[in-house]
């Protein structure tokens, strides 16, 4: 599978290959450029013999101080036709740089992309509803970043704030 996809990418989308690097992993890993993500994924999804039509996992890794650019958005694709080979695609992005959303290709990318946006602060372009998913709406910062301390910044913000907003608005309406 690795050779097939390698050849496929080199033949059809050489301009979107970010770099060729061997990664110590049990999965075949390919690095892609953010701007070509949609074209490459939709081609991989439909090409006969490859058919990576199942989005298995979507997450990100923060390589603060180890790699440049800092973030890697990791897409794990799997073929539906029983061959069960998983292939990982990584998109390196700098802080604040947007990645195109793949919700139009895989409906299931919706929440994972929101989760990555919420916890890493990586924005996704053209996402139907790019809001915080897990942390409260008034949360400051992105907890899974390496420069976010485990104990938090010590802000006292949370549910109480949300509740007071509600109570006040509700009472005002009546």
């Amino acid at each position: 599978m690795k050779e097939t996809i390698d050849r496929f990418l080199k033949d059809k989308f050489p301009q979107y290959v970010y770099k060729e690097e061997e990664v110590l992993s049990n999965l075949p890993v390919f690095f892609l450029k953010a701007e070509g993500l949609l074209q490459v994924f939709s081609a991989l999804k439909t090409s006969p013999g490859i058919e990576l039509n199942y989005l298995n996992d979507l997450t990100a890794v923060d390589w603060l101080g180890k790699k440049n650019p800092r973030f890697e958005v990791c897409y794990l694709l799997r073929s539906g036709n029983k061959s069960t080979t998983r292939v990982q695609f990584k998109v390196p992005v700098e802080e604040g740089e947007a990645v195109p959303s793949i919700v139009s290709l895989f409906k299931g990318a919706n929440w994972p992309e929101r989760e990555v946006f919420d916890l890493f602060g990586i924005p996704f372009r053209d996402h139907p509803q790019l809001e915080r998913l897990i942390m409260p709406d008034n949360f400051q910062g992105h907890p899974l970043r390496k420069d976010y301390p485990l104990e938090g910044f010590g802000q006292d913000y949370l549910i109480e704030d949300l509740l007071t907003i509600h109570v006040k608005e509700d009472m005002g309406a009546e």
Partner: protein, 404 residues
């Protein structure tokens, strides 16, 4: 008044037509079985739009995993799918063992598989039983809960805990199985078989249950794949994927079992698939329990497996290893690893990025609930409010796994 509340939670409900009503299902509601919220827009009794709000039980395990050692993170996995804890434990331990290239004795694999399948039965009992309760049939659940309790007692003897089992250690089991283990498992299987048939005839084959669940909350195979479904919910839609068959881990390639599939992915088919999976799990257990090989309950790995406590007090070597493992953790080589296992709800994947230090650089958990629950608004749109409860129950959303 409600409008503002909903406005806070999502952008979907900004303009509510006259006569439509917004209902909050949750965060604390008997039908949600956990802390998760659904905002549902109703026109009469029809669901027009829905939105799920999650995050109420988020404990930031992925962040904690970057500080904990590989052994310590095992405790976090207990709290993910708390209905079938050993499956999460085994998923994590398998990933770490594969990264460290550890071979465990056959006995360990046998016990892990038996406990896995017992946990799967436990999970399916909860899902199908509580579905009955949500639809107003209480007795079905009680019939099977007696047997679930028996499984809990085996787990208690095996691990010392009922709910947070922290089953397994890197390189083996925490302690050896007790002598009556095989007999007790055999007795459980013997009792479960008629109980499952009874449950089937009592609840699932009941006309009222069929009418309430047939064709409700269905999803096509294509949509299910697009949404990232896995496990029983995907198989109910007619896709025969099972990690145990497709890429066997442990000894799943050496045991005989079938993968049941449904047709339309509706509540009824999900229930039937789970019923059949329970029978298949019993089949697997019966094949294994006869041949648990004798031998040690852990691999010979002084650098990864904690030495016996008695020896730690007397021998220098063991004391050093004990200290090293507790203080510095186990050495996992640098690299990345993704290991998928078939948990009760579907594909549970652990993605570890290791830099060769005592804690992983990044841990990510691919939770099956998280992927299929996002389709909930699509499943309930156009249906009745009462059907949303059945749909939610049959998906088996576990809040602990959803938020992680």
């Amino acid at each position: 008044m409600y409008e503002k509340t909903a406005e806070h939670f999502g952008s979907k409900f900004r303009h509510l037509p006259e006569g439509h009503l917004l209902v909050n299902l949750g965060p604390s509601h008997p039908a949600t079985h956990g802390i998760l919220q659904n905002v549902i827009q109703l026109d009469g009794e029809r669901v027009v739009e829905a939105e799920s709000v999650i995050g109420y039980v988020h404990r930031s395990f992925e962040k904690l995993g970057e500080k904990y050692t590989y052994n310590q993170f095992l405790v976090c996995t207990d709290r993910m799918n708390y209905v079938s804890t050993p499956l999460n434990n085994i998923g994590w331990i398998l990933t770490v063992e594969k990264m460290m290239e550890i071979q465990v004795p056959d006995k360990v694999v046998y016990v892990r598989m038996i406990v896995s399948e017992l946990s799967r039965i436990m999970d399916h009992i909860i899902c199908n039983g509580i579905l009955g309760v949500d639809l107003g049939a209480f007795s079905g659940m009680l019939h099977l809960f007696h047997h679930r309790e028996n499984i809990y007692q085996v787990l208690e003897k095996l691990t010392g805990a009922r709910l947070t089992t922290t089953f397994c250690r890197i390189g083996g089991l925490e302690k050896d199985i007790y002598p009556e283990f095989a007999d007790e498992v055999r007795t459980i299987c013997k009792g479960l078989k008629p109980a499952i048939e009874e449950f089937q005839s009592l609840l699932v084959n009941n006309r009222i249950f069929m009418d309430r669940t047939k064709g409700i909350g269905g999803i096509s195979a294509e949509d299910a794949i697009s949404y990232g479904y896995s496990g029983p919910n995907l198989r109910a839609a007619g896709v025969p994927w099972d990690v145990r068959k497709d890429e066997p881990y442990m000894f799943y390639d050496k045991v005989d079992f079938d993968v049941p599939i449904g047709e339309d992915g509706s509540v009824l088919h999900r229930t039937l698939v789970r019923m059949e999976e329970m029978r298949q799990s019993i089949r697997i257990i019966e094949q294994l329990v006869e041949g648990i090989p004798p031998g040690p309950h852990h691999a010979d790995l002084p650098h990864a497996y904690l030495p016996e406590k008695g020896k730690v007090y007397k021998n220098m070597e063991e004391l050093i290893y004990h200290f090293k493992i507790i203080m510095h953790g186990v050495k996992v080589p640098p690299g990345e690893y993704y290991q998928a296992t078939e948990a009760a709800n579907g594909e549970l994947g652990f993605y570890i990025v290791s830099e060769g230090e005592k804690s992983p650089w990044r841990v990510h958990v691919r939770r099956p609930c998280f992927w299929f629950y996002q389709s909930f608004p699509d499943l309930v749109k156009g249906g009745l409010l009462a059907d949303t409860i059945a749909t939610m129950s049959s998906l088996n959303v576990i809040a602990g796994e959803l938020d992680c």
